[in-house]
Symmetry: C2
Subunit: 335 residues, 2 copies
């Protein structure tokens, strides 16, 4: 009634458990007639394999986890969707974990995932402090691939987009349109991506003698953007252009500006980052720095499986993609 085990199946089919296991795992090692009987027993008992027992024996699970900064950010769901098919066809299952940009939550997830002996881990770390926690996994033979973050000195494969360059693209675009002062909105600065995008932006601003103000948002989402822009508007001479660390923040900034009657792009231009699908559909279609989202996920999964396959003799690879500026109405100087 409740749950039946292999033993029950074996009894019902009049064979040993070893044979039942064989029916499930190497069907051709067992005679036609026997197999039939066993399968019938399985069906009639409603037997379902117990994965815990399997995993215990195997020493590891078939799950691959992906830890993202924010599941409700379409950027990350696109990355996940990029990775899924690969994991899937490798017979794995994807577990999505949301760290919510919070180191403690990230840490908790890592602990649980390690207890679960996941087969591998794709992660966008919250922080630079995540590194040592990740090495612990690596030391325990759980391959880790960094997503949207270069590996630097750390012993992992990684898939990243050149964020410094992305920052440059955004800033250059704004400077080119004649803006004499630019605001950067994003935060917290502990997030590496934010720092890099800012760095690229700063580089261009300094070189071109453009004033740069930075406004730190609490979080990389719509609320954060709205709030930071409020702060900006309190300034006597607010910048005429903002570069936001991601599209959610940009959308929030757009809302904030509109609420205060500031016209976009006429009185204030906006560039976002990620080019999520919603960016193009926004009230004022957003210019944005595009990242190959799905490909990021796909490649990450690929690197993970390579590492799994190659085992000990594996050398880490760090793949870097180049971002691309997509100009839309939110920075259109004419029309």
């Amino acid at each position: 009634m409740t749950t039946s085990s292999m033993k029950d199946v074996a009894r019902a089919a009049g064979v040993s458990v070893g044979t039942v296991s064989n029916v499930l795992n190497r069907p051709d090692a067992v005679a036609e007639e026997t197999r039939r009987r066993v399968l019938a027993a399985i069906a009639s008992l409603g037997y379902v394999r117990n994965d815990s027992a399997r995993q215990l024996r195997a020493g590891r699970s078939r799950n691959v986890a992906i830890v993202v900064l924010d599941v409700s950010n379409p950027f990350f769901t696109d990355v996940v969707r990029g990775a899924e098919p690969l994991v899937d066809s490798a017979g794995g299952v994807v577990t999505v974990c949301d760290s919510g940009e919070d180191v403690r939550r990230e840490q908790r997830h890592l602990e649980i995932l390690e207890e679960q002996r996941v087969r591998g881990l794709l992660i966008t770390p919250v922080d630079d402090t995540s590194a040592e926690r990740l090495e612990r996994l690596t030391a325990h033979d759980i391959p880790v691939v960094l997503v949207d973050r270069g590996a630097g000195l750390h012993p992992h494969c990684s898939v990243a987009v050149d964020d410094v360059h992305g920052g440059r693209l955004a800033a250059a675009h704004l400077v080119e349109q004649g803006h004499a002062s630019v605001a950067f909105i994003g935060g917290p600065l502990s997030i590496p991506q934010v720092r890099d995008r800012l760095a690229g932006c700063r580089e261009v601003c300094e070189r071109s003698g453009t004033r740069l103000e930075t406004f730190t948002s609490v979080s990389l989402n719509v609320g954060g953007g709205r709030q930071a822009v409020e702060q900006m508007l309190r300034l006597p001479d607010a910048p005429t252009a903002v570069f936001c660390a991601n599209d959610l923040v940009a959308l929030g900034a757009l809302q904030g500006l509109t609420m205060h009657g500031v016209k976009v792009p006429e009185e204030c231009a906006i560039v976002g980052y990620d080019d999520i699908d919603f960016a193009a559909a926004a009230a004022v279609p957003l210019s944005s720095v595009r990242q190959p989202r799905a490909q990021l996920g796909r490649t990450a999964a690929q690197l993970l499986f390579e590492e799994i396959a190659e085992g000990k003799g594996h050398t880490h690879r760090n793949v870097v993609f180049q971002p691309e500026l997509v100009a839309r109405a939110s920075t259109a100087v004419d029309l």
Copy 2:
């Protein structure tokens, strides 16, 4: 080096495995000094509990799964975020699965989840045919709570929003604004929510003598909406208002109309469904039927834990929320 087990810890600390287990699970049953020694051994060996073994013994895992139709739809991520804190504080972990509106993928997930002996399941079923597959889980003592779907005759708790009424609200709003013909865009019709929203819409249209055309989209996303609207525009006298089965479709419809130079709302009004955050931020802010997304998730998790706690003597509850129309520019007749 690789992975150490309780036995290793026990040896290192000079105690039995039973004691190590006690240190982990009922610390006060073990003497101060011993505990210290064991903890030291754990730390120095880098010991990590093996969850498979735990689960095997316990007979079930501590994971709660949630199966959604589309992870990249913010509606669902909001539902997930609503459920997460509760599961979390109950010591569980959430596994998010994406069925992609596909029965076979859903089925695959269910099989895997059952093998994993998840503690419980929140699911938005793809289809009416999902029902019997779900009863299998219930029969195996895995509580199931239906999300965004009434339970009807099925032996589950459920959390739903009155979709028929939502359909009525949308249609009534459009009719009230004087539209003489309305298009419904959504699909596939095998998805119950789509059918219900259409039913409510149809009811109001018939009562008010409004012409109703329905356009079936392949999928409930932006692409589906864009495509369906193309089809609509080929009609000699296309409707002057569309009601979309969700906001993604509505956003797609908006894009499609704009691309064909149809002005929204002047030449064609749009009402969406879900009121995701992006709806308000769209090129033309979308009128939409709001659902209490986070609360849906929260309540679902609550029901699940009630069922787990009450065990055999549990009676199923079916909670229904009422949707609410949010009118924005996409249906604004004046201004």
